[in-house]
């Protein structure tokens, strides 16, 4: 599901990157819904609330 771009970089919006850093979330885990398949802020916030994220956080 990860939004990996052509050059192996994660495609994520600046706001998504900011929230990911603030919330200590690994962007590679976040399913993208943004334009062109990139991760947007909402995806990161939704992911934070998701069971998968909580499980990853526990590990």
């Amino acid at each position: 599901t990860a939004a990996i771009g052509a050059e192996g970089k994660i495609k994520a919006s600046p706001a998504a990157k900011r929230v990911a850093r603030e919330e200590h979330i690994d962007l590679r885990q976040v399913p993208p819904t943004g334009p062109g398949g990139r991760i947007i802020e909402k995806d990161v916030r939704n992911f934070k609330a998701s069971p998968l994220a909580q499980k990853i956080a526990q590990d």
Binding site: S13, A15, G34, I40
Partner: protein, 462 residues
């Protein structure tokens, strides 16, 4: 699937919140009614956005003709016929009100002409010309809007002291006008009346005009209004209004002393008060408005509130956006409203428009920011257009290039800002805004150039 109730949704109030909510609800398949006691379109169409912009356009045309010589065009005996100016405004409003009526019909919304009162969340009473009617509904959307707020200034009841409602019906330009309150409405009237020949004075209580806007943008607007002849006092408190032989005298405190300024009219534009008539009984309103969640639902399930009555931001596009959200939720669609990316516009000359946070606010909230400013005097299109005042400013965070604010003062600012809205909605980076190939020569290039400047790669400006 109504059945038990007359309607699945009733919308109370037919402004840009209410009529849009009603149309969207009907589109979602709900049996919908709209109650409006006055003219469809509400404040926005009848006493707000549209009539002001119609008058402002006449002012702009007048201004253009007066400086036509710059463009190589000569004209003599240039005069404004204020009767015709106001009549044009009335025609436009009438046409649009008719249009909304047609839209509601086309969408099969039942429109009740009358004053509505919510007896319960599911019961409404409508007082119409021919008597009182009761209707029942599953869900209720409250969109009763707002009315001019009149502060308790002694003498505010003198004839000639007016609000925006009356100012739009003046039919003439007063020789002199004192405007109490330098918000968006006050500023638009100031520009318009001054252009048409009134001597305008603005008295504002706050230390600066438009504290929520970017300071540099406001400075350009204020400077321009002053050059046009408008007198502006900030940090000034009005004590009273009294009648003189031929005019009204406004007494105010400024820099520790009492002063007086005279005006044929006094326009009080100190904000707008939520209109609770018809919904007091529901017990859901607080002093300033009705609290709602992000689904626009009040504390009563199935009862929504939208627009000026529910929102801290009193703007027509907010009311409409909230109306769509409420209607979709009434149809169980799980829609959300966020006020993160809401543009604001001022239709003066120069125009002002912005979205997101100001440079000062960005500095405070983010450690490290980048700012790019591109002045219209460096824009080929602005030069050809003959209007080079102002600039576009892009504010973003330095780390990720997140666009935090786009601030524009200058020609067509109110149209240009939408690109900033889309950029922020899509969480675009500075680079993406800068690399999008903007057509040449256009005013919108200034957004791209401002992004270049913020990246340290300004082509036509540093």
């Amino acid at each position: 699937a109504a059945g038990k109730t007359d309607y699945q949704v009733v919308v109370l109030g037919g402004g840009p919140g209410g009529y849009v909510a009603a149309i969207r609800a009907a589109q979602c398949g709900l049996k919908t009614a709209l109650i409006e006691k006055d003219s469809l379109g509400g404040t926005c169409l009848n006493r707000g956005c549209i009539p002001t912009k119609a008058l402002l356009r006449s002012a702009e045309v007048y201004e253009t003709i007066k400086k036509a010589g710059e463009f190589g065009i000569a004209a003599s005996n240039v005069t404004s016929d204020m009767k015709a100016v106001f009549a044009r405004k009335d025609r436009i409003v009438k046409g649009l009100v008719g249009g909304i009526k047609g839209l509601l019909q086309a969408n099969k919304v039942d429109v009740f002409n009358g004053e509505g009162k919510a007896i319960s969340p599911n019961q409404l009473e409508i007082t119409q010309k021919d008597g009182v009617k009761k209707i029942s509904t599953e869900k209720l959307i409250i969109a009763t809007g707002s009315t001019p707020f009149m502060p308790p200034i002694p003498g505010a009841d003198n004839p000639g002291v007016i609000t925006s409602n009356e100012a739009l019906e003046l039919g003439k330009v007063p020789q002199s006008l004192v405007i109490i309150g330098g918000g968006v409405i006050g500023l638009e009237f100031a520009y318009m009346m001054q252009t048409f020949g009134a001597r305008v004075t603005i008295i504002e209580m706050l230390p600066r005009i438009l504290p929520m806007a970017d300071k540099e943008v406001v400075d350009v607007l204020v400077g321009s209004l002053k050059k046009q002849g408008v007198t502006i006092f900030t940090n000034a408190k009005v004590n009273k209004i009294s009648k003189t032989a031929s005019a009204l005298a406004v007494e105010y405190e400024f820099e520790g002393a009492l002063h007086t300024v005279e005006g044929e009219n006094v326009l009080v534009s100190t904000g707008r008060a939520a209109n609770f008539t018809g919904i007091e009984g529901l017990g859901i309103h607080e002093k300033k408005g009705i609290p709602v969640n992000e689904k626009m639902e009040t504390k009563l399930p199935g009862v929504y509130a939208i627009g000026d009555i529910a929102s801290k931001i009193q703007l027509a596009h907010v009311a409409s956006a909230q109306g769509i959200v409420a209607a979709e939720n009434a149809a169980d669609m799980n829609s959300h409203y966020s006020d993160k990316i809401i543009p604001s516009c001022i239709y003066t000359s120069p125009e002002v428009a912005w979205v997101g946070i100001s440079e000062a606010e960005a500095k405070e909230k983010y450690q490290d920011i980048k700012v790019g400013k591109f002045p219209f005097k460096a824009s080929g299109k602005a030069m050809a257009y003959g209007d080079t005042e102002g600039f576009v400013k892009v504010v973003c965070d330095a780390k990720y290039g997140e666009i935090l604010g786009v601030h524009i003062v200058g020609p067509h600012a109110t149209d240009l800002v939408s690109e900033g809205v889309l950029a922020q909605s899509l969480e675009a980076t500075l680079e993406e805004l800068g690399h999008a190939i903007h057509p040449h020569p256009t005013l919108s290039e200034a957004l791209m150039e401002a992004a270049h400047v913020a990246m340290g790669q300004g082509i036509h400006w540093k």
